[in-house]
Symmetry: C2
Subunit: 446 residues, 2 copies
Amino acid sequence: MQKRQMHLGVFLMGFGHHLASWRQADTPADSPEDIDFYIDIAKTAEQGKFDLLFVSDGLSFNERSHPSELVRFEPLTLLGALSIATKSIGLAATATTTYNEPFHLARKFLSLDHLNKGRTGWNVVTSYYQGEANNFNQNDHMKHDERYVRADEFVEVVKKLWNSWETDALVRDKATGTYFDQKKLHAQHHEGRYFSVAGPLNTSRSKQGEPVIIQAGSSEQGRAFAAKHAEVIFTAQQTIEEALKFANDIQSKAVEHGRDPSKVKILPGVIPIVALTEEEAWEKYNELQDLIVPEVGLELLSEYMGGFDFSQFDLDGPLPTELPEYNGNQSRKQLIIDMAKREQLTVRQLYQKIAGGRGHRLIIGNPEQVADDLQLWFESGACDGFNLLFARYPGGLDDFVELVVPILQERGIFRKQYSGETLRDHLGLDVPSFRTEKQVSNQTFV
Amino acid sequence: MQKRQMHLGVFLMGFGHHLASWRQADTPADSPEDIDFYIDIAKTAEQGKFDLLFVSDGLSFNERSHPSELVRFEPLTLLGALSIATKSIGLAATATTTYNEPFHLARKFLSLDHLNKGRTGWNVVTSYYQGEANNFNQNDHMKHDERYVRADEFVEVVKKLWNSWETDALVRDKATGTYFDQKKLHAQHHEGRYFSVAGPLNTSRSKQGEPVIIQAGSSEQGRAFAAKHAEVIFTAQQTIEEALKFANDIQSKAVEHGRDPSKVKILPGVIPIVALTEEEAWEKYNELQDLIVPEVGLELLSEYMGGFDFSQFDLDGPLPTELPEYNGNQSRKQLIIDMAKREQLTVRQLYQKIAGGRGHRLIIGNPEQVADDLQLWFESGACDGFNLLFARYPGGLDDFVELVVPILQERGIFRKQYSGETLRDHLGLDVPSFRTEKQVSNQTFV
């Protein structure tokens, strides 16, 4: 019998997730807006038989952001391009429910799902930054809890719209001139607290039925939302124990929603830095660390702590215990605080550590060491696979595909070939049956 | 000296603009959601050295719509794909200012302009249909005049956002770790009647500076808007006299805005049906006309007349003189009424006529006849070229590229090769200089 299979995503990010990767001599620093660069990476990931590529997003400019996020492609237009540059790999993007309309997002993601023939995923976020509100006619960013209430209704509307057309509704009978079967078209009208949407959508069902729903929030509301809606969960976990606790929590919540917990795939982020020898891997890492401009590292930390100003504190002392309330990414903030405590890091050590992968777990080692680590987590039940953040592109990804993927394949825990065609196929998720407006409202999951 | 050059666009529309084209045996009826079909067409148009491809859009489903519009790709994701499937041709799409936010559209179009390296155009529309309001939390569609006031401010915000980054703002100095020059980044804050947008945009200036602005409204407000903002104007004109009048009006209004009227390119729509002989061309046309389902033709006419019910009238009598007020596409309605009067058409003849190309001018003939007609209009000064609507794809486009383009090229009025790389290059439009927030507000055109 085939062993349980690991799922692997690649989190794209211009020249890489390490804060200083763009400063290396051979890194193309303009890659966040270079489509040829993205196409090459996508093709490498497809050669590596990864489940999916993922791009994040933000709707404001923030000079404290990671440099690869200062200017970059808008994800849905980028995925349009990657949809035809690739043949098999899944393609997922972040889009916020706080500053969008459900009709637009339902349509764009389903349109992408036609462009790439059923390989699309939507990472639902509620936005972190005040700056986004100010770009959308609003003075204040909606409060964290309210954002999730809106997100819940937003996803409900999107799912209704995705069920506008039954699979065989478009009969296109040339003899009679009947283009579609009126009985199989459903308006899926929605009337709720935030949204009033008449429907139906002017895009038909796609090959995988509906795009895959992904979610990444780890706060209390984020988990509740994920347990109800998400088919893939991106998360940041530093230890197996924490990851197991997280997985158990999500799975039991999913069961409460009447869902099969094996259809919720949990993928913690990891940053693998691999080379032929462990020593060489550490050299690669240290080379990147040495390129961090201290002010930039501190600004990134400050950004993750809600704009807190660390300049009044000793950089070589511990993290201040009293940090201000913050209406942004709660779980990332907590994760960084926990990491600082657990590893007894100074402020300087902390920003150096997050410079590499923003709170995600670093694995530095030779190919066997990296494969062992991934396999241990995977087989412990702590996760269903990983969302891989490479410190630098294309080098980090190239190394992983060349050195680690073959080991995972040899061990029988990762595919040698794609066995299906859609993202749902890769992830082992079923094609959702057609659901009426009422079935969607009742959260009837298939 | 080189003769004045004609500009040619191709208006994509699934299987074609003729209402019944999908019913022909060899037409792929599912093409409105088939990316491989679109890629083939795009490549043919590029072989034909056309200036641009254009896709229209609508944000609601309407069963009375043209069948190619019932379900279809969302244009911006589609253009993402076509951006890398083509190398030279311009790529333009419709997006409405009534049900969008300027930050989103500014970003998506500029992102596309990076994906295709400066070949993007945005056709600004204000939406026609009540159904769109109902998909966006609103009971009533905004009134025609107010829509244009909003559109004017919307475009102003978009242009400000497109000028967030000066061309050389991203210094990416690896030695010092300076990614961008703060002095060359401009927030371009906007505070107006409809929009409050802090900026800046998180996408840099593109190769052609800014995407090309296209506009298609021919109402009084539409013309005023076009004269102020548009660099390309799509229009429907049935006679040279009307077209000349339209062009003169636009040009004099453009001058009032301090613009160079030669930088406003007017492209009337035409539907060329061409074959080796005139007789064969008419056969092609009649074959399509015979496939029109009468009810469907009448519904399309009704749709264009604001939902007016013709069933109470004699189909073989004249168009009723009293038609209801209509808050939709005013100029198309008027154009159809004028055509019915001028050609003394019955209701039946009228719907048959618009079935082919929705109010656009049909040219049916052999290659010389079609080329003569286009040349006559072009050289009379009535237009700068044409937006070509093919009755059926791919056949209609294939015929035109094979039979008509070489004649226009031989006559020295159409390019044999692309001489530039961007859409602005093709159209002979300058790259706009960087403009401050205030310069954009003052409508300082370059």
